[in-house]
Symmetry: C2
Subunit: 218 residues, 2 copies
């Protein structure tokens, strides 16, 4: 299975690309610039081989990556993600598209969740990509710690979708990453709660002087 | 410090009463019926002494308990809690009042959060008890497991309030209970997110066939 990480040069993109490759998936790094994507693909490959892992990476434009993949994960900043989705409608038709997007803005020292007319970022992506199977996941993962290959963790990942088969596939992929455990979060309607939870965690870290926290139900 | 657990005969009330007493607090069980409260107080005392703990319990009507306490925790079902608060306005004036309330209704197999005009149950309690210092906490604790003295756990408790001193006091009390760690959740505005999170956890348990889950940020 080929997984495209659109915006795979960013922080969450790095962690997902590296760890999906370790889990055995073929990873396509997508970026606006093909060159940047290729450089990152090489860099990720080197990072893994230095640690004794093998990993299959390629670098493409977001459009080519979307065409070539079976599943796409949209890890660009949320303000740009919806336009990107609009532009890739055809390439992503019939495929699983994962939204880890959390619409939020800084409000003094803390963040606030930005309400969208569709109810959540996951729902907005689904409204745009009507021909794709949209799955909401990976919001609550702290990107920096996730991208650090020396870090270990035990986090739960809540997965929501209106497409049962797509949800199951993303849950399987998630479970194949060491330290992550997928939980069925029900339908896409629930994405709002998960997205809001991410804002809560960010604010808890700021208010309590903590860093790199994920979530575990235990 | 005397802590009244209003509705202390219920499940969350049982866990809080028992564990607060173990932590060294004098606990007043509040109930509509004085007799029921007294019987529970004796029962809780016996449960602790059987396990080699000592604990100070007394049983009173909710009104007497509110008069006698320094801090009150409202553990009655949310539909009844607001009327109770209305009726105890004077008794609770000047005191810290803790709301673990989560307004929700069953919707098929899962729960949904009930939107209140004030924004959250914590905010509604604060609107009613204008002379009290309202603190929101303990929503995400699974009541049955918490009441089971054989159970061990490691859960985070998010504490929100517009009264910094009251928030600090409740955080200290929380930290004194073994297995609980208090996190500063900011002001009472954030209570809605924490209350909604409880609904999410309940639904995650139903959807994934899990039981007795609390939350840990790690």
């Amino acid at each position: 299975m080929k997984i495209a990480v659109l915006g795979g040069t960013g922080h969450l993109g790095a962690g997902l690309s590296l760890r999906l490759a370790i889990a055995g998936y073929e990873v396509i790094i997508g970026s606006r610039s093909e060159e940047k994507a290729r450089i990152k693909a090489e860099e990720y490959g080197r990072m893994l081989s230095e640690r004794g892992h093998s990993g299959k990476f390629s670098g493409m434009t977001n459009s080519e990556a979307s065409k070539s993949c079976d599943i796409a994960i949209v890890t660009v900043p949320w303000e740009q993600a919806f336009l990107l989705a609009e532009n890739l409608k055809e390439e992503l038709a019939g495929k699983i598209v994962v939204s880890p997007l959390v619409p939020m803005r800084k409000d003094g020292k803390t963040f606030r969740y930005v309400e969208l007319p569709e109810g959540s970022a996951g729902k907005r992506v689904a409204r745009i990509l009507k021909e794709s199977k949209v799955v909401s996941a990976y919001q609550c993962i702290p990107a920096d710690r996730f991208a650090d290959l020396e870090a270990s963790f035990e986090w739960d990942v809540i997965v929501c979708s209106d497409h049962e088969d797509a949800k199951e596939t993303v849950m399987e992929i998630t479970d194949s990453i060491e330290g992550l455990k997928a939980l069925d979060g029900g339908n896409l309607e629930n994405s709002k709660l998960v997205e809001s939870l991410t804002v809560l965690i960010l604010n808890l870290m700021t208010l309590n002087g903590l860093k790199g926290l994920g979530i575990k139900f235990c």
